[in-house]
């Protein structure tokens, strides 16, 4: 079973190359952007010679740490947005494409159950894509720290102090990993819904995935003049239990007034225990299990080949 899962997940990565091409493309774009900023900043003002993260004209230690933390969080956010799109498109395509090109007949000629197949796609969407995204975030951070360090050192700055000493790398990386994995689990009911639509829709799975919730929300508003359904679905997007509804503004405000000049910690703003003990987490997993079972059932029983 586990051996099969490795082979099945590998198969997903062969088929959906965007899973690793997208993070790689973002990493390249961010790095080129940082390089461009470094060059541009140096060109504009001599005072910005040590530009961006290592800039000596940024008022003080805390500010530099904040800018670096801002870069780390900002890059991670770009990856998270890409992760969201990747997951939606991957999940909607994963069980639809095989029916469209009829390759489902080949896959089903192998000794693999429908449950194993659907679960491999769920694992890919909820865990593998987030994990690859985390690696993308780490590598982007690392490469850009190295690039900036070389730049700062070239300008005579102390990269060890100005760059590497101003950011808690492990704290940030662990936080990034927790956020992406937690988002996969937190969003798992949506992923399972997309998988279900992917195996059920005869055409245009993207429309089939988004129309029913919108129609349901509209009906609720028309009949009851309430918006509970869409609000519940929408609010799940901000992963409240992990961040206590924290806003980015409040995050920097809080950091501003912290005692001392320690590096900014993202982990301190997370509540992992609160997250895994939240009823919303477990009810989400339950909905995910139900919809995954439905997807397995449909793949097993539908016969439109």
């Amino acid at each position: 079973m586990i051996g099969h899962q490795f082979a099945l997940i590998k198969r997903e990565l062969w088929e959906h190359r965007s899973i690793y091409v997208t993070p790689a493309a973002i990493a390249v774009i961010v790095t080129l952007g940082v390089l461009a900023m470094l060059v541009l900043a140096s060109g504009f003002a001599k005072g910005l010679d040590l530009a961006i993260f290592g800039a000596q004209n940024i008022a003080g230690d805390l500010e530099r740490r904040a800018v670096l933390a801002g870069f780390f969080v900002g890059t991670s956010w770009v990856f998270l947005v890409a992760l969201m799109f990747l997951t939606v498109f991957y999940s909607l395509d994963s069980l639809y494409a095989e029916r469209k090109d009829k390759s489902i007949l080949f896959w089903r000629s192998m000794p693999v159950t429908d449950a194993e197949t659907v679960i491999s796609k769920l694992i890919t969407a909820a865990i593998v894509i987030p994990a690859i995204t985390a690696v993308g975030i780490w590598l982007t951070h690392l490469v850009n720290l190295i690039v900036t360090s070389i730049w700062v050192s070239g300008k005579g700055g102390d990269a060890g102090l100005l760059i590497w000493g101003s950011i808690s790398i492990l704290d940030n990386w662990l936080a990034a990993l927790i956020v992406v994995i937690a988002s996969g689990l937190w969003m798992s009911p949506f992923i399972a819904w997309f998988l279900f639509v992917s195996t059920w829709a005869k055409r245009m799975p993207i429309l089939m995935a988004f129309m029913p919730p919108i129609v349901l929300g509209l009906l609720e508003w028309i009949v009851f003049r309430t918006q509970y359904f869409l609000t519940t679905v929408g609010e799940r997007g901000d992963m409240t239990p992990l961040f206590h509804s924290m806003s980015l503004e409040r995050f920097f405000e809080e950091e501003q007034w912290r005692d001392g000049v320690g590096n900014i910690s993202l982990l301190e703003h997370m509540d992992l225990v609160g997250f895994v003990t939240d009823p919303g987490f477990w009810s989400g997993l339950l909905v995910c299990a139900l919809l995954t079972t439905a997807a397995i059932y449909v793949r097993r029983y539908r016969d439109d080949s």
């Binding site: 490795f6 198969r11 088929e15 089903r108 029983y301 016969d303």
Partner: protein, 285 residues
């Protein structure tokens, strides 16, 4: 003889339509069975039931398994080619071999690579870069490298040119088939496979019209080419089909002894195609 497939009262309904209607048959080890029927006769539905791809009513046992409930175990000992175009187009040949090697306990990668070396297929090619004939060669190489007890082929050479079709069946017979293996095949190009079949089954409107070994077929069915008074006399023996050819009557008899027909004209063993047409017409009367 050991029954690999045993069907008793198997039916499959789609709404009011009975695609397979209460059929019973056995397939024994070491046979090559041709399942022949017109479009919409229920061939593919029956094959899907045998492969566990669709549920059905009645008792169906394949290699001792309930195909629908125990599909995973079944697929370790069954291979099938459903159509020539079902290999995923995005996959590379090497990836396909990696996948089957990881998934299938009875797959020999060495054997598959040996077979592929006899073709022009490169391991770095993607399926979408291969011609239709090459895709079939690739699929067949994989199937032939799997040590399976039953091979099911559903229109495996559809859309291929005559060279690939001949090569396909030649490879199948020479490099794959032995007395431990059984092949179940459906095709429209019945003339091309009738010489390699050991058994034959005709199906129409979900019902089996004929289930016979090829050997006993020649004992049961006789074709007579005759004319004049002899033709009138032959009519009395109630042929199941008759048509004109070169001004002569060609009659097909079922269960009539050759002794009775001797002297009435030229006797031949009917082709499967002629027999098929006669049985279908008879069923539609």
């Amino acid at each position: 003889m050991t029954s690999l497939v045993s069907a008793r009262g198997v039916s499959k309904r789609f709404g009011a339509v009975r695609a397979v209607d209460n059929v019973s048959f056995d397939i024994e080890k070491g046979k090559i069975l041709g399942l022949i029927g017109p479009n919409g006769a229920g061939k593919t539905t029956l094959l899907k039931a045998v492969l566990g791809l669709t549920d059905c009513e009645g008792d169906l046992s394949v290699l001792g398994f309930n195909p629908f409930r125990q599909r995973k175990q079944l697929m370790q000992n069954i291979c099938f080619i459903a159509d020539v175009a079902v290999l995923p187009r995005w996959i590379k040949v090497s990836q396909l071999l990696d996948y089957v090697e990881a998934i299938h306990p009875n797959f020999s990668r060495k054997r598959a690579e040996e077979l592929l070396r006899q073709t022009k297929i490169m391991s770095t090619s993607r399926v979408k870069e291969l011609s239709k004939g090459m895709v079939t060669q690739l699929h067949l190489s994989i199937i032939m490298a799997i040590d399976a007890k039953l091979l099911v082929l559903d229109e495996p050479t559809l859309g291929l040119d005559i060279l690939f079709r001949k090569e396909f069946y030649s490879n199948l017979l020479n490099d794959y088939f032995d007395e431990e293996r059984t092949i179940l095949i459906t095709t429209h190009q019945v003339e091309e496979i009738e010489n390699l079949l050991t058994d034959i089954m005709f199906i129409n409107d979900g019902k089996i019209l004929l289930d016979s070994s090829m050997d006993s077929l020649s004992d049961t069915y006789v074709e007579l080419m005759t004319s004049g008074d002899a033709a009138k006399k032959a009519h009395g023996l109630r042929p199941i089909a008759e048509h004109e050819m070169f001004g002569k009557s060609v009659m097909l008899f079922e269960g009539v002894s050759r002794d009775h027909l001797e002297g009435l004209g030229e006797l031949r063993i009917p082709s499967v195609a002629d027999l098929f047409v006669a049985k279908i017409k008879e069923a539609r009367k």
